[in-house]
Symmetry: C2
Subunit: 195 residues, 2 copies
DNA sequence: GTCTATATGCTGATAGAC
DNA sequence: GTCTATCAGCATATAGAC
C-alpha cells in the first residue's frame, strides 16, 4: 500500500485526465497548474509528462472526447420518425446526457477560448455537427408543416441554449427529478417551435 | 504628446476598468495579468494600484456595475400592463441590452467562479433579483390564465438561458438585424409559455 | 500619480538518477 | 514510470524616488 514509486502506467493515464477534468471544471483551465493536477493524481508534476505532451493537450483531449462521445451516443439513440417525435427524442437525450456529464459540458462551453486556434477549429466543427442534427429536425418539421420556422439556424441556437442552460441550476438532490425536468422542457420546446 | 509621467487621475481610473473589461472578456480573468492591463492603459503595473486594491476588486467592480446597471435600466423601462405585454417588454429589453454589452455579459456569466465567496454572494443576489422580475411576470400570467406555468422557477431559467444565448452567436454584421432577432425570439418565448 | 526596482512565490516544462 | 532538482520566466503586490 501507499507505494510512492514504481510502475502504474495502466491506471495513472486515465487518472490524469480525470483529475484535469475535475479541476478544470471547478477552477478553470487557466487557474489550474500542472502541480495541482499531479497532486490530485498522487504523483509529482514531472510524471504527468509521461501521459501528455503539455497542458493544452489535456484540455483538447477532454473536449474532443466529450464531443465525440456526445455525437456517438446521439447516433446510437437516433430513431426514424416524425419531426415531432425526433425533436422530443433530441430534447430528452440532450437534457439527460448533459445532466450526467456536468463537468465535461461546463468545460466544453467555458474553455473554448483557451484552445489554440488549430484545436478550436476541430472542436467547433464537432459542435457544429451536433447543432446541425437539431437544425435538420427543425427543417424537416417545417416541410411537414408542423413547425413554424422563420430562420432555422436561430431557432436551433435558441433551443440548444435553453436546453443546455439546465446544467447551470439543476441539482440531483433538488425538488424535481431529471425526468420531470425533461417533461417541462419538452413542453416548452414543442410549443416554441410549433405552428 | 506621449507624456510618460505625470498626473492623469481623472482619465486613468476609468481606463483601468475599461482595459480590464476588454481583456477579461477576451482572455478570461485568470489568464490576464496586471502587467497586460497596465500595458493596455499605458502605465506601469505598479500604477494600477492607485485605482484598485487588487485584481479581484477589478473583477468584482465590473460585475457589480454591470448587474446594477442592468437592474436600473430595466426599472426605467418597466411599464405596467398585461403579463403578455410585460413579457414582450422583458424579452426585447433583455436581448437588446445584452447585445449592446457583450463584454460585460460574457464576464458576468463566465467569471463567477473567480469571485471570492463574499463577492460571489453579492453578485448572485443581484442576479437573483433580475431573474425574479421575469418569474413574477410568468406567475402573473398564470393568474391571468394566459400562461401555462408548471414550475415558474424552471420556466424562468429556461427563458433567460434561451435569451442570453443570443450573445454567443449574434454578430452585428450578420444577415439579421437586432430587431429581427428580437422578433424571432419573442415569437418563441410567447409560444413556449402560453397555454 | 507614476516611475523603477524588488520581494516572494508560482508557472510549464525538462534532465538525469533510480 | 516516477522521482528530485532545476531552468527561465512571469505572477501579484509593495517600497521609495521623483
Amino acid at each position: 500500500m501507499a507505494r510512492t514509486t514504481g510502475s502504474h502506467s495502466d491506471i495513472t493515464g486515465p487518472r490524469v485526465l480525470d483529475a484535469a477534468l475535475r479541476l478544470f471544471a471547478r477552477h478553470g483551465y487557466a487557474a489550474v497548474s500542472m502541480r495541482q493536477i499531479a497532486k490530485e493524481v498522487g504523483v509529482q508534476a514531472g510524471a504527468l509528462y509521461n501521459y501528455t505532451p503539455d497542458k493544452q493537450s489535456l484540455l483538447f483531449d477532454l473536449m474532443k472526447r466529450h464531443m465525440q462521445e456526445l455525437l456517438d451516443t446521439r447516433s446510437d439513440h437516433c430513431r426514424p420518425g416524425t419531426a415531432l417525435k425526433q425533436l422530443e427524442d433530441f430534447t430528452r437525450f440532450h437534457i439527460r446526457y448533459h445532466l450526467d456529464r456536468s463537468d465535461e459540458v461546463f468545460i466544453a462551453y467555458m474553455e473554448l477560448r483557451n484552445l489554440t486556434p488549430e484545436n478550436f477549429t476541430v472542436i467547433e466543427a464537432l459542435r457544429r455537427r451536433y447543432e446541425n442534427e437539431l437544425e435538420t429536425i427543425l427543417q424537416q418539421g417545417a416541410v411537414e408543416g408542423v413547425f413554424a420556422i422563420t430562420d432555422s439556424r436561430i431557432e436551433t441556437m435558441a433551443v440548444i441554449a435553453m436546453l443546455t442552460g439546465v446544467t447551470t441550476w439543476y441539482r440531483a438532490e433538488g425538488r424535481l427529478s431529471a425526468t420531470e425536468v425533461e417533461g417541462i422542457y419538452w413542453d416548452m420546446v414543442r410549443k416554441a417551435v410549433s405552428v
